[in-house]
C-alpha cells in the first residue's frame, strides 16, 4: 500500500516548470533526464476565457511495479511505504526497467550511466522534509500527501 502521493492543485499551478528544475538540481542531474514533468492541454475557450489545465507527472510508484520485477540486479526496489527507488550501487544501467515500465519512466543519467527515477526524494522524507519539487513549488500548488486508510 502506497503511503504517499504528490498532488497538484490545478488552480494554483502556473506552469512555471520550477518543479522540474528543483528536482534536477536536487538530484544533481545534467541536461537530459527530467524526472517530473509539467504539461498542459491546448487552450480552449470556456465562457469567453481561453483556459488550459496543467498536469504533473513523475513516477506512479505502482503497487505491483513492473520495473522492480524486471530489474536483473535487484537495484530497483519498493519500500514498505510504497516508494519505488533505485539502489544506485547495484544498478548496471541496462535500462530493462525503462522498457518494462508502461510509461518508460526510469531514465538514463548520462553522468553516472545508471538509471534514475523519482523516489519522492526519500532521503528528504526520511529526514522529515518534503520532496524538492513540493518544497520549492513557486505557488505552493504541489502538495505532498500522506494517504491514510479510511
Amino acid at each position: 500500500m502506497n503511503k504517499y502521493l504528490i498532488y497538484l492543485d490545478q488552480k494554483r499551478c502556473i506552469g512555471c516548470h520550477g518543479c522540474e528544475i528543483h528536482c534536477k538540481v536536487n538530484k544533481n542531474l545534467p541536461v537530459g533526464p527530467i524526472l517530473c514533468e509539467i504539461s498542459h492541454e491546448p487552450l480552449r475557450e470556456i465562457k469567453g476565457i481561453p483556459r488550459t489545465e496543467f498536469h504533473f507527472r513523475s513516477c506512479y510508484h505502482c503497487d505491483d511495479p513492473e520495473c522492480v520485477k524486471a530489474c536483473p540486479t535487484g537495484a530497483m526496489q519498493k519500500r514498505e511505504d510504497g516508494i519505488v527507488f533505485i539502489e544506485e550501487d547495484k544498478c548496471i544501467g541496462c535500462m530493462v526497467c525503462q522498457k518494462a515500465c508502461p510509461w518508460h519512466i526510469p531514465q538514463l543519467n548520462p553522468a553516472t550511466n545508471k538509471a534514475i527515477k523519482c523516489d519522492y526524494c526519500k532521503d528528504r522524507i526520511d529526514a522529515g522534509l518534503k520532496p524538492a519539487c513540493v518544497t520549492k513549488c513557486a505557488t505552493h500548488a504541489l502538495k505532498f500527501v500522506e494517504l491514510k486508510p479510511l
Binding site: 488552480k11 494554483r12 502556473i14 506552469g15 512555471c16 516548470h17 520550477g18 522540474e20 528544475i21 528543483h22 534536477k24 538540481v25 536536487n26 545534467p30 541536461v31 527530467i34 487552450l43 475557450e45 469567453g48 476565457i49 481561453p50 483556459r51 488550459t52 518544497t135 520549492k136 513549488c137 513557486a138 505557488t139 505552493h140 500548488a141
Partner: protein, 704 residues
C-alpha cells in the same frame, strides 16, 4: 561541514530572498526564504547552481585586442584591468571633462553605490535601462501622485478585484506577488486580464479582454466613462484629494463604453458588467498601472488613465488597495548611510538633458537612449566613456546597429557583468562580476507597508577569477583618487558603515535573513493624507501642473493606432517564467526547458499565409530577417505577432544560446529614436514586420 547562508537570488531583478545550503564549498540546496516565501522558488532560482558551474562566461578580466565585436580578447589580471580602465578614464576626464563619462545599470536597490561612483568622478550622467522598461509608468505615477511607481505597494492578497493590462505576472514572475494573487483567487477574488494574446495570467482570469494592439488607452478611457456614468467611484475621496476632476468629466464624455468596445474589439456589455463588478468590490480594487510599458505611443497616458481609475476606486491607503510604501523613518529607525549622499553633486547638466530641456522627467537615472543623441552629435557635450554595470543595452534597447553607430564616437566601453552580454562582447573591457551566489552586495532597504533591510551574502567563493561589484567599483575608485568615498576593504566593513546610523548590526540578519523594521503593516490616516502627495499642489493631480508647464496635455485625446499594411503585422514581445530576458538563455538547465522562441500567429492569418504549426517563418523588418518556427493560436489578435524576448543572441562562445531563436530588438529598426514625449519611454510595439512562410520548409529533398 554544512552551513546555511541567507541571501538574495540574482537570476532576475526581482531578487527573491533565499536560503542557501553549502557543504565543502559547494551549493547543495537553494530555497526561497521560509519566512517570506515558505520555500518557494522558480525554475530560474533553482538553476543558479548551473550558472555557477557554467564555463561559458568570462573566466577573468578581458581586454579587447581585435576590432570591436571581433571576439579577440586578452585575459588579464585584475590589477592590469583596473589600471587599464583607470588610465583611460583619467585621460578622457582630462581631455573632455568628467561629465563625458557615463555609467548605466539596471536600477534596483543597490544603485546607490554605482551612483556614488559616477558622481565622485564628477559626472552627473548616471542612467539605467528603464526608458526601455517602466519609465512611462514611473512618470505617469509622478504626474498623478508626485510619487514614483514604487511609491505604493499593492495589497493584492486582500483585494477583491485585480485588473491587469498586459501585466503578465504569472510569467514575468515575482514570487511573492504571484502567491498573493493565488491567495486572492483562492478566497474568491476576481482577476480581469487585458492583452493582445492569451497568457498564463489570462488563463487564471475571471474576465478576459482580448484587445486590438495599441488600444489599452481606449479601454481604460471607456472604463472611466462608465465608472462616472454609473457613479461607481468614491466621491468623498475624490472631492478631498483630487485636482482636475471636472476637467476629467468633460474630457471623458465622448469615450463611452460603446465607443471603447468598438475601438478595442470587445463587447460593450462586458465593459458595463465589469464596472458593475468593481463597483461592488471597491475600494478593494487594484488597477495595476503596468510594468514594462515602453510599448505604444500613448502608453504613458494609458498608465495615467489606470491610475485615475485607482483614484476613482478610492483604493489609496486601504487594505486590499494601494498602500503608501513606508521606509525606516516611518518605523522610527534611521535609514542606511548612503554612499551617494557623501559625494558632492556634479555641477554639469545631464547630457540627456533631463532636468534641463526635459523638466518633467525624473533626474535620477534620466533617459538612457537619449545619451545616444549626445554621442552622435557631441551635444550638449560629447560622451566618451560608457560603463555598463549588469546592463546590456544591445539586448534591452532596440536596433543595436544604430546603437553601435553612435558608440563609434565613444572611446571606452566597459562591461561589468556576470555573463557575456551582447554589449560586453562588443565592448573594450569586460570586468566579470561574480555570480550572485559568489558575491555580496551592499545592504538595501525594501520599502513597503512592512519595510525591511535586506542583504545578499556570499554563499561560496568565486569559481572563476571574478569579483563582487563593490570590489570592482572600489578597485577602480582607488585608482581614480576617489577611494575616500568607499571607506571599506571588506564586505563586513561596508555593511557596518552602512548600518552604523540604524543601530543594527550584520548579526541582526542571522535570524531571518532580513531585518524587519515593524511587525505590523503601517497605515497612514486615510482622512489626513495632506503632505503625502508630492505633486506641486500637494493633491492628486488629474491635471498635472508639471505637464501643463511643459506644454503637454494631462488628458490626451485618443488617437487610434495605425493598422498594419497588408502582409505586415505589429510585432509584440513578452516574457516566459523560465527565462530572464537574454540573461538565462545560455544557462544549461533553463536552455533545456526553452532553447528557442517561436512566432505566435493568429490561426486565421496563418491559414491565409499557408503557415502551419511548426513551420519555419521569415520575419522581415527593414533589411533584417529572422527565421523561427510558427506557433498557431486563435488567441492572439490578428493584427499582432508575438515572440518571447531574449533570444537570437550572437555571442559565439555562448554555444547554447548562439543564434537560437530570434531577437525582437534586432527587428525593431528605427525605434531607438521613438521616444514618448510625455513619458520618456520608448515605443517598442510600434513596429510592423512582414511575415511569410519560409522557403526553409522544403517539401523535396535534394541531398541523399
Amino acid at each position: 561541514m554544512a552551513k546555511s547562508v541567507w541571501s538574495m537570488c540574482g537570476m532576475c531583478s526581482v531578487r527573491c530572498p533565499i536560503r542557501v545550503e553549502v557543504e565543502d564549498g559547494k551549493i547543495k540546496w537553494i530555497e526561497g526564504n521560509p519566512y517570506i516565501l515558505k520555500g518557494a522558488l522558480c525554475a530560474k532560482g533553482s538553476a543558479g547552481h548551473a550558472l555557477v558551474e557554467d564555463d561559458e562566461r568570462p573566466h577573468g578580466p578581458l581586454i579587447r585586442t581585435g576590432p570591436r565585436g571581433s571576439g579577440n580578447w586578452k585575459l588579464v589580471t585584475w590589477d592590469e584591468a583596473f589600471d587599464y580602465v583607470a588610465e583611460k578614464l583619467k585621460k578622457i576626464k582630462e581631455k573632455y571633462g568628467p561629465e563625458s563619462i557615463m555609467l548605466s545599470c539596471r536600477g534596483g536597490p543597490f544603485a546607490d553605490l554605482f551612483k556614488a561612483f559616477i558622481h565622485a568622478i564628477g559626472s552627473p550622467n548616471f542612467s539605467n535601462h528603464d526608458s526601455a522598461c517602466g519609465r512611462n509608468v514611473h512618470h505617469a505615477a509622478k504626474t498623478i501622485y508626485g510619487l514614483g511607481r514604487k511609491g505604493f505597494a499593492y495589497d493584492i492578497k486582500n483585494c477583491k478585484h485585480l485588473i491587469l493590462f498586459g501585466r503578465n505576472l504569472f510569467e514575468a514572475l515575482r514570487l511573492a506577488e504571484a502567491n498573493q494573487v493565488m491567495d486572492m483567487l483562492d478566497k474568491g477574488g476576481r482577476l480581469t486580464y487585458v492583452d493582445v494574446r492569451q497568457t498564463i495570467t489570462g488563463v487564471k482570469a475571471t474576465r478576459f479582454f482580448l484587445v486590438r494592439p495599441g488600444t489599452d488607452y481606449a479601454l481604460a478611457l471607456g472604463m472611466i466613462n462608465e465608472v462616472l456614468k454609473q457613479g461607481a467611484y468614491d466621491k468623498e475621496f475624490v472631492e478631498k484629494y483630487v485636482i482636475g476632476f471636472d476637467e476629467l468629466c468633460s474630457f471623458i464624455e465622448p469615450y463611452t463604453a460603446e465607443w471603447a468596445a468598438k475601438e478595442c474589439g470587445v463587447k460593450p456589455n462586458a465593459i458595463k458588467a465589469f464596472v458593475k463588478e468593481i463597483n461592488e468590490d471597491r475600494p478593494r480594487v487594484i488597477f495595476h498601472p503596468g510594468w514594462m510599458l515602453s510599448r505604444y505611443h500613448d502608453s504613458f497616458y494609458a498608465s495615467r488613465a489606470l491610475q485615475i481609475l485607482n483614484v476613482l476606486m478610492g483604493n489609496i491607503e486601504v487594505e486590499g488597495g494601494q498602500i503608501f510604501s513606508k521606509g525606516p523613518g516611518d518605523c522610527g529607525v534611521k535609514g542606511l548611510r548612503s554612499f551617494d549622499a557623501q559625494v558632492p553633486k556634479p555641477a554639469a547638466p545631464r547630457a540627456d538633458l533631463v532636468g534641463d530641456k526635459y523638466k518633467h522627467w525624473d533626474k535620477g537615472p534620466g533617459i538612457f537612449h537619449l545619451f545616444y543623441e549626445a554621442m552622435r552629435t557631441g551635444k550638449p557635450y560629447p560622451i566618451k566613456a560608457l560603463i555598463c554595470y549588469r546592463h546590456d543595452p544591445f539586448n534591452c534597447f532596440p536596433d543595436p546597429e544604430s546603437q553601435k553607430e553612435a558608440l563609434e564616437n565613444v572611446e571606452l566601453l566597459v562591461s561589468i557583468d556576470v555573463h557575456y552580454s551582447e554589449f560586453g562582447w562588443y565592448s573594450d573591457v569586460i570586468l566579470p562580476e561574480s555570480t550572485y551566489l559568489e558575491r555580496e552586495n551592499p545592504i538595501a532597504t525594501q520599502k513597503g507597508p512592512k519595510p525591511r533591510f535586506i542583504v545578499r551574502q556570499r554563499a561560496i567563493e568565486p569559481r572563476l577569477d571574478t569579483k563582487a561589484c563593490w570590489e570592482i567599483f572600489k578597485g577602480l575608485a582607488d585608482r581614480l583618487d576617489i577611494g575616500q568615498y568607499f571607506p571599506f576593504n571588506t564586505a563586513e566593513e561596508m555593511w557596518n558603515w552602512q548600518l552604523e546610523p540604524t543601530g543594527y548590526s550584520i548579526k541582526d540578519f542571522e535570524e531571518k535573513g532580513f531585518i524587519p523594521l515593524t511587525d505590523k503593516p503601517i497605515f497612514y490616516d486615510r482622512n489626513n493624507l495632506e503632505g503625502k502627495f508630492k505633486t506641486p499642489s500637494g493633491k492628486i493631480e488629474f491635471i498635472s501642473q508639471v505637464l501643463t508647464e511643459q506644454g503637454l496635455p494631462s488628458l490626451k485625446p485618443y488617437e487610434s493606432p495605425q493598422k498594419p499594411p497588408k502582409g505586415q503585422f505589429r510585432l509584440v514581445f513578452g516574457r516566459t517564467a523560465v527565462h530572464t530576458h537574454g540573461h538565462t538563455v545560455n544557462n544549461p538547465l533553463l536552455n533545456e526547458l526553452m532553447p528557442e522562441n517561436a512566432i505566435w500567429i493568429n490561426k486565421r492569418v496563418a491559414a491565409r499565409l499557408d503557415i502551419k504549426e511548426g513551420d519555419w517563418v521569415d520575419i522581415i523588418s527593414e533589411g533584417k530577417k529572422a527565421v523561427i518556427r510558427a506557433r498557431i493560436t486563435e488567441f492572439i489578435h490578428p493584427e499582432a505577432v508575438y515572440m518571447t524576448h531574449g533570444f537570437g543572441r550572437e555571442v559565439p562562445v555562448q554555444t547554447r544560446a548562439y543564434l537560437a531563436g530570434a531577437s525582437d530588438q534586432k527587428l525593431q529598426r528605427g525605434l531607438l529614436n521613438k521616444t514618448d514625449p510625455a513619458g520618456g519611454g520608448l515605443c517598442l510595439c510600434e513596429k510592423f514586420v512582414t511575415i511569410k512562410k519560409s522557403v526553409r520548409n522544403a517539401k523535396r529533398r535534394v541531398e541523399l
